[in-house]
Symmetry: C2
Subunit: 361 residues, 2 copies
């Protein structure tokens, strides 16, 4: 389909000034890349070369599907969004999780033709669930793709994830942003699909996951979008941004650097009080790295989160510690808690075989 | 045992000046930590809280053992070294890989009493293999621990990994440094132990892995040891260090920043020509991140490595792309190739269940 048919809304539009600066100013950013314009395609090519046993990568339009797609009679689960958040989403394509991922340019919504082609490629006759992070471009383009597919007789349901408690509205987003709970929703709904549940049941489950999940992030440093060539925002050597978005959107406050204990306590307080999570709740927790923070710090931060949950009578039944939804090389972390019922825990434990998450197989 | 009995050689000694600077100069480094002196213990506590199903963590002396240790009648496989390289080594403790890991302070050798206690804790009566990265402190302390254990009747074999082709001698190291091949040796020898092979056979296998593995790394940025409080080395905005060590030791050359294509080609050339790897060889490849480089770049870099191997008739039969042996938040990557025979490939494919690597279970 011709690209001009679609309204493509870049999540993070690259200004002409930035492009000019990049061309004139020479190379300032320190990245393992070739041409800034080719980063996504070349990275996808590497992903395809590394994981041919798990996925197939299609180019023009770009999308990633599990190697055995379409799976006949199974609901397909799709997500997508701007690149730069790896392993989200392509790293979660495979048995027990996503059937397809649609990667846009860095921090830029994929186009409806990517989503439409991916939806058709994985439809096994039982319908397709679109899991959409709440960013205006993503929501608009997934909606358009859903309408096009429905017009051709494919049953499509969409669930928007909007779990970020940091701010009500944001740059690029009306309402709350969709962040860490997306990872958990993809795992749980992917397992539900693998077990043969129907589209309506899985969409309801996905809404339930979203309704019970809350997240908040923070940054110690900015990141640099390759095509922009300079940091997304400026931040002082002694400052941090609390409530940051995954594209570097402003958060709640810019504060002096604090200890991990204070940082995690502040974010946990915001997350816990929002739902609110209560004494006696059982949760799946994610202590997520933004891409540039090493594991030694993430485990230290998880130690703080675990102590807080314990003190408040919240049981962490399952957890992830590591880089799952990132912002390029940004240093920082995010906290996600999902109040989980027995069904969610059982689906969490179900086998998953993807590049970024695998167990039970 | 009293600590003074041992010669503890810090891999990266913290100067009194650095300590004074940290105390006087206030907080400059941007890390998710509390007190710089507590980083390793607090991170280990978080690791223990996150992975109680896989491991037990012992403090004073600090070591990590698999949850079901000791496994009676099985050879135990141990490694260890300075912290800051996570997931190495604690992230590789579990069924099918390491029985124990001994984490030292950041970039500092663990002490012999850690290694001795860990060896005793996992000895199941069939002997213990120490896999040691070639750094003077690590080698000396593991030797001392081996002697102490042998004196008490435990059969200990040691294999030193020295796969880094970048430089012949180095800061902290006589001879070649031990880097990426350590990850592959731990997986392969851990699988061999799980299959019931005896100590001599596994030690010989480990030497064969070391003899057939070669690595080289590079850095775009330095890292900052928490207790030092400032970057390990200075590097210009338009420079990179080729052949870097995992503690930021000097490499082969400081060069102007280049494209991923040039960087990977240069490292692959050095690695391939050293063994040398030949047309027709089958390898296990690792494109490893140094901790601060995001996955989108690592897959792009892997794309380059895959193309080079293909052009030279070298078949990548298995691969890892991600952060496996890191240098805190350093941006950069390393390339490891292991010429693998059928036995190594079969052991590679055997089940592994650790925090940092899991499949087949």
């Amino acid at each position: 389909m011709a690209a001009h048919k679609y309204c493509t809304v870049p999540v993070n539009p690259i200004t002409q000034e930035a492009q000019a600066q990049q061309k004139e100013g020479g190379r300032k950013m320190k990245k393992l890349i070739n041409d800034a314009q080719d980063v996504v395609k070349e990275s996808l090519a590497g992903f395809a070369a590394a994981h041919a046993d798990l996925v197939r990568v299609h180019f023009d339009p770009d999308y990633v599907v599990r190697a055995d797609a379409p799976v006949s009679g199974k609901v397909a689960v799709i997500s997508g969004g701007g690149s730069g958040h790896e392993p989200l989403h392509a790293g979660f394509v495979g048995a027990g999780m996503l059937d397809a991922a649609c990667p846009g340019q860095v921090f830029t919504s994929p186009t409806p033709d990517q989503m439409e082609a991916a939806t058709k490629a994985v439809d096994g006759g039982a319908g397709v669930l679109h899991i959409v992070k709440n960013y205006t471009g993503d929501v608009m383009n997934f909606e358009m793709a859903a309408e096009l597919c429905q017009a051709e007789g494919i049953d499509v349901a969409s669930v928007v994830i909007n779990d970020d408690v940091a701010v009500q509205d944001s740059l690029y987003t009306a309402g709350r942003r969709g962040v860490g709970t997306t990872v958990l929703a993809e795992k749980i709904c992917g397992a539900a699909a693998e077990k043969g549940m129907d589209l309506k049941t899985i969409a309801d489950l996905c809404r339930r996951v979203n309704a019970n999940g809350r997240s908040m992030g923070m940054a110690l440093t900015s990141c640099t979008v390759p095509a922009a060539g300079k940091p997304t925002f400026d931040i002082g050597d002694d400052e941090m941004e609390i409530g940051i978005g995954i594209h570097g959107e402003p958060g709640r406050e810019r504060k002096p650097l604090a200890s991990a204990r204070e940082i995690i306590a502040g974010m946990a307080r915001a997350v816990i009080s929002d739902l609110p999570f209560k004494n006696g709740d059982t949760v799946i927790a994610m202590l997520n790295g933004m891409g540039g923070t090493p594991l030694i710090e993430l485990y230290l931060a998880y130690n703080e989160l675990a102590a807080i949950c314990k003190a408040q009578g919240i049981t962490i039944a399952r957890r992830l510690v590591g880089n799952y939804i990132t912002s390029l090389e940004m240093a920082g972390c995010s906290v996600t808690l999902l109040r989980a019922d027995e069904q969610m825990l059982a689906l969490w434990d179900a086998p998953v075989l993807t590049a970024g998450m695998r167990w039970g197989i």
